[in-house]
Symmetry: C2
Subunit: 331 residues, 2 copies
């Protein structure tokens, strides 16, 4: 069995991975410069001679890694049976293509802790109007203001996967009241109440913090439109850590001009990187971050643990964790 | 029984207060302009003719309220038997003077939720280096960076009163490991471990977030000195929401220049308001806020509930909640 990954990912997690792989496994590794090798050999391997059965997409590929070479091999290799992603989202077209040619696809749910940390920081920053403290300090002004305590706020978390649940746990530790939105509740979600997607409009007028923590699918794309925004509460904040495609950005800018919501925290945008002339950059009620909420330093280890767990299951023919199907893409 | 308070505090909480007071109670109220009246009468009362038995210090007095007139009457009134403060701290000289003339003094422990909210925001902001996101967004740069997840951090919370405990509960919901420092542990503090004050130096090298949540007393004044700072960890953050007097500010500035701690979040300073020429304003590793961490919007109601509870106890001669003695001032 040949397994494809980056040499960096193998080096960082070798013990974990070797313990999970079968004895006859061979590691096909891409070096940072795009060279393909068999682990343990210095000889360069022509990608046309490689036949990986398994491929593991790690986040180092996105950081100036050999992304083009990796996806080039993956999309051509007829040998590929299983593709493990380190991301939760699967809206990029390449995933649909792989599924349609019969490759099994598994996602990773490792971003809950950092994204929840990010959302809590962003919500506290809004509720405390920390911008005003920073602006006053920059001018050496000792200027106090009252702020809203988290414990008096009501949250609407749209999407209760790993990420939404981690957000709910943290917000509730502050005493916030959290309503989670989920199509198919399992009954043990850590929230004060569960709502269905068609109840969102009715809940918005009483929600102080609205978090988009749902993937972009055919059913969720463009869900934050002018009508939804009209239902938001004055003073509320919209936090999008899902996908830019969830939001009609023109409608959002108009709504922000009207003050409902009072602020939008956008870690994701319809176009990424956001073009320099996009009005989102300069709108005074928009807080922008460059798709960074998942970049917590614990993600590498969690990704390796997910792949190692799934590799053990794959070897013995067991069910894979977080398997994605064509139905999920259309959901 | 005459009770002294502001007319605003009485108007905001009349039902609660009247239910707790004895039938013969008279409310002596200071209007915002410093006029003293008996509640229900428009006639101005000369403060020399007032003989309050009870006085309630509310935070509206600090916001351009008739503070001078209030304390003028309180410090002169030989009739005063009990003074309810709405603050947790009692290091201002006036409190010692009242205790020495036999006035009972009670503090309020209503600041836990907002101060804990503040500390968590400040710690998350540091761990996520949100400053870098803000600086990049101001220049329309799409620039990503990894950040430290809260769940991998170790906290040292010095002082485990109401405030320290609320901080610990929140930090642990993120998965942080929290050590609390307390002279006399009660055994049910919501922390991972308890330490005594003389163990602080030994714990600092492994603490990522160090929070000062202790009052300024003879025993704690100047506790953060050059020696303590030398024990702090590279990359760590010091958060002071206690009192400015806890910190030797000159030693702190030197330590920040060396990078240990990496950042100081100071909501309190030795001199307040901080003079415009103080170097704390401009040090790149100092985050300053103007003694605002307690200014959550739930504090007025919690203060009134504390006073009403204590008033019921006072009327029947029961023990008062949060009574402060001269021993506490020397502690």
């Amino acid at each position: 069995m040949d397994l494809l990954l980056t040499s960096r990912a193998l080096d960082d997690h070798r013990d974990l991975l070797e313990a999970a792989a079968p004895p006859a496994a061979r590691w096909l590794v891409f070096d940072a410069d795009g060279t393909l090798r068999i682990d343990g050999s210095a000889d360069v391997l022509d990608p046309r001679d490689a036949a990986p059965e398994v491929a593991w997409l790690t986040s180092d590929l996105f950081d100036d890694g050999p992304m083009r070479q990796f996806f080039g091999l993956v999309t051509r290799a007829a040998s590929l049976r299983w593709f493990q992603s380190s991301a939760a989202g699967f809206d990029a077209p390449v995933f649909g293509q792989m599924l349609r040619r019969g490759v099994r696809l598994t996602s990773s749910h490792i971003s809950g802790p950092p994204i929840a940390d990010f959302v809590l920081r962003a919500a506290l920053d809004h509720l405390q109007d920390a911008d005003a403290w920073r602006a006053a300090a920059a001018e050496r002004r000792w200027e106090r203001h009252d702020f809203v305590e988290m414990g008096s706020t009501r949250w609407l978390v749209i999407g209760l996967g790993t990420i939404g649940r981690e957000i709910a746990v943290r917000a509730r530790a502050f005493g916030a009241h959290v309503v989670g939105v989920r199509r198919s509740p399992e009954g043990h979600e850590p929230v004060d109440a569960i709502a269905r997607p068609d109840e969102v409009l009715g809940l918005l007028p009483e929600s102080d913090v609205v978090v988009l923590a749902t993937p972009a699918t055919a059913g969720t794309t463009g869900m934050v439109d002018a009508e939804l925004l009209r239902h938001m509460r004055a003073g509320s904040v919209l936090v999008n850590i899902g996908r830019g495609a969830l939001v009609d950005e023109a409608a959002l800018l108009s709504a922000l001009d009207e003050g409902r919501p009072a602020r939008a925290v956008l870690d994701v945008t319809a176009t990424e990187p956001l073009p320099a002339d996009d009005p989102l950059w300069t709108h005074p009620r928009v807080v922008l971050t460059p798709h960074s909420s998942a970049l917590g330093d614990g993600r590498f280890r969690r990704a390796a643990e997910t792949f190692a767990q799934n590799l053990e299951r794959y070897v013995v023919g067991g069910p894979l964790l977080h398997e994605v199907t064509l139905d999920d893409l259309d959901g």
